[in-house]
């Protein structure tokens, strides 16, 4: 990777990262796409291994893509096509907007002074997108999937927000680059483990992944995606992987020291750490039973939320004490 064409960042004075020319957004989307492919291959390999079949599950996503590309698009009676398509395609867009504020080492596409809030806004948008996908199809099963996602959302969203608050307090900035730079020597994941864990749960949740997958449950014929077929389904699934990858990428500047690391250049460290977190999230899918949507609210509000608030308090006290 050559040295990108730099432009001066006017917005954030003293920013530790440099804003690259807007054209590099294509490169960022390409990296996100590569992460999606890697995550899907990994999931295919793990599925094949747990089913005990012959090896080679890593190639499964490609077969699946070929199948979906040729599949005829089905539609339902009186579907609200516009909202339905917005929902299905929106996940990819939301994920791309998330990675826009993630610095790849020293370079960032969009050096926003409230980058953390930006990420949060995108993950809240996922609520609407998943719900619209479930609602637009005009099908009872999709609708039930949508309800399940909202029930999970009520449980995970506030803990996730407060988990994002902790690094921001410690860094005394909402700029993602500054949060990464504030972790000189000690990663935030180390001294705010509760916030990190809750954040990872939140990423799985807004990707409708693993224990948060009842919204796509096989007991309701695939839930939200029950009526999605062909390219629509492909885009929806890619969107889920992209959200997972974007969540993993965002955890690097927030909790894992950004590009800090020996020997390798900083952008390589960001990619490596992203891959590690992504691997963890993909692997997690098969390890845990689903969190039942009707019961998760209790966990979210009585366990996760207090835990993460105490974490925020500790971080705030430490931050005040250190200044």
């Amino acid at each position: 990777m050559g040295e990108p064409l730099l432009v001066q960042s006017p917005g954030v004075p003293g920013s530790p990262v440099v804003t690259v020319a807007p054209g590099w957004a294509f490169a960022a989307v390409a990296v996100l796409g590569a992460l999606v492919v890697v995550a899907a291959m990994l999931d295919g390999a793990l599925s094949a291994r747990s089913a005990g079949g012959p090896a080679g599950g890593a190639a499964r996503p490609f077969g699946e893509v070929a199948r979906l590309m040729r599949q005829r698009r089905r539609t339902t009676v009186q579907a609200d096509s516009l909202l339905w398509r917005i929902g299905g395609a929106g996940l990819l867009v939301a994920a791309a907007l998330m990675v826009a504020v993630v610095p790849l080492g020293r370079w960032t596409i969009f050096d926003l002074d409230v980058g953390v809030m930006w990420f949060n806004a995108m993950d809240v948008m996922v609520w609407a997108l998943v719900w619209l996908t479930g609602w637009g199809a005009n099908s009872a099963y999709s609708l039930v999937g949508g309800y399940r996602f909202l029930a999970h959302g009520l449980g995970y969203e506030l803990p996730l927000m407060f988990a994002l608050v902790a690094p921001a307090i410690a860094a005394q900035s909402l700029n993602v680059g500054k949060v990464a730079a504030a972790q000189e020597g000690l990663w935030f994941a180390v001294w705010m483990p509760v916030a990190f864990l809750v954040y990872l749960l939140g990423v799985a949740a807004f990707s409708v992944w693993g224990p948060f997958a009842p919204a796509l449950g096989s007991d309701v014929a695939g839930g939200v995606r029950a009526e999605l077929s062909g390219v629509d389904r492909l885009v929806f699934e890619a969107g889920r992987y992209a959200l997972l990858a974007a969540g993993a990428a965002f955890s690097v500047p927030m909790f894992l020291g950004g590009g800090a690391g020996p020997v390798l250049p900083d952008w390589a460290w960001v990619l490596l750490k992203t891959l590690a977190v992504l691997w963890l999230l993909v692997w997690l899918r098969r390890r845990l039973p689903a969190f039942r949507p009707d019961m998760f609210l209790e966990v979210g509000w009585l366990v996760l939320l207090p835990a993460v608030l105490v974490q925020d308090l500790l971080v705030a006290v430490l931050a005040v004490w250190r200044t």
Partner: protein
């Protein structure tokens, strides 16, 4: 005003359990669904995803001849269903693998590789316990009243553990009481879809089903 756009009647509103107005959707579950007792049909009224009314019927299910390997595979099948409905793909895949091995080799359960490991894994999982504990608990009296087998006592988690034990020891239960389908409907009213399906799967209805049709045939 067009009350059935596209030929589908509009959902009518009704008071839900919190006294709010919510659409009532008519949904038929079965007779063929993954992880579902074959032939069972539930005509449900759903508000949101909560089952508010149910009418149950059984479509004719022929009684296939079975041997011991079948009984074990069937027990493991039920286990796969509960684990899959609980959203635990890893354990469900493991159970499915053991089931296939049981059918292929015709081994007795104690010879089956991995069954004991699966049993330990299921028992150790606290998330599974948390999600199934307290789900449709049945007292001994209720079990008798609904005509369920005596080992249906307890909540869904208890039933799963017993199902696991049955599979691990290869016990066949030939003396199951006659199962009455209209009682099933009573058991799932008020639950949401996911919970209703978990409860049904935990009751091990596969084996009960055949008894019911036999009963009908006997009196027909």
């Amino acid at each position: 005003m067009d009350m059935s756009p596209g030929g589908i009647p509009l959902a009518e509103g009704g008071e839900d359990r919190d006294g709010l107005q919510l659409d009532v959707l008519k949904v038929r579950l079965g007779p063929v669904l993954p992880h579902w007792p074959a032939g069972l049909v539930l005509h449900c009224a759903l508000q949101g995803d909560v089952v508010t009314e149910v009418r149950a019927e059984v479509l004719d299910a022929g009684d296939e001849g079975r041997d011991d390997a079948d009984a074990l595979a069937r027990a493991l099948d039920n286990l796969v269903s509960v684990l899959a409905l609980a959203g635990w793909e890893g354990a469900a895949a493991q159970a499915r693998r053991i089931r296939d091995a049981a059918l292929e080799t015709g081994d007795r359960p104690e010879d089956l590789e991995g069954l004991e490991r699966l049993r330990r894994r299921v028992r150790r999982s606290w998330t599974l316990r948390w999600s199934l504990r307290g789900l449709r608990p049945l007292t001994e009296e209720e079990v008798r009243h609904h005509g369920l087998p005596p080992d249906a006592v307890g909540d869904t988690y208890d039933r799963l553990i017993r199902m696991m034990d049955r599979a691990a020891t290869g016990t066949r239960q030939d003396d199951r009481p006659v199962f009455r389908v209209e009682h099933l409907a009573l058991l799932v009213i008020g639950l949401d879809l996911a919970a209703a399906r978990l409860v049904l799967a935990s009751l091990d209805v596969h084996e009960l089903q055949a008894d019911h049709t036999q009963h009908e045939v006997a009196h027909g």
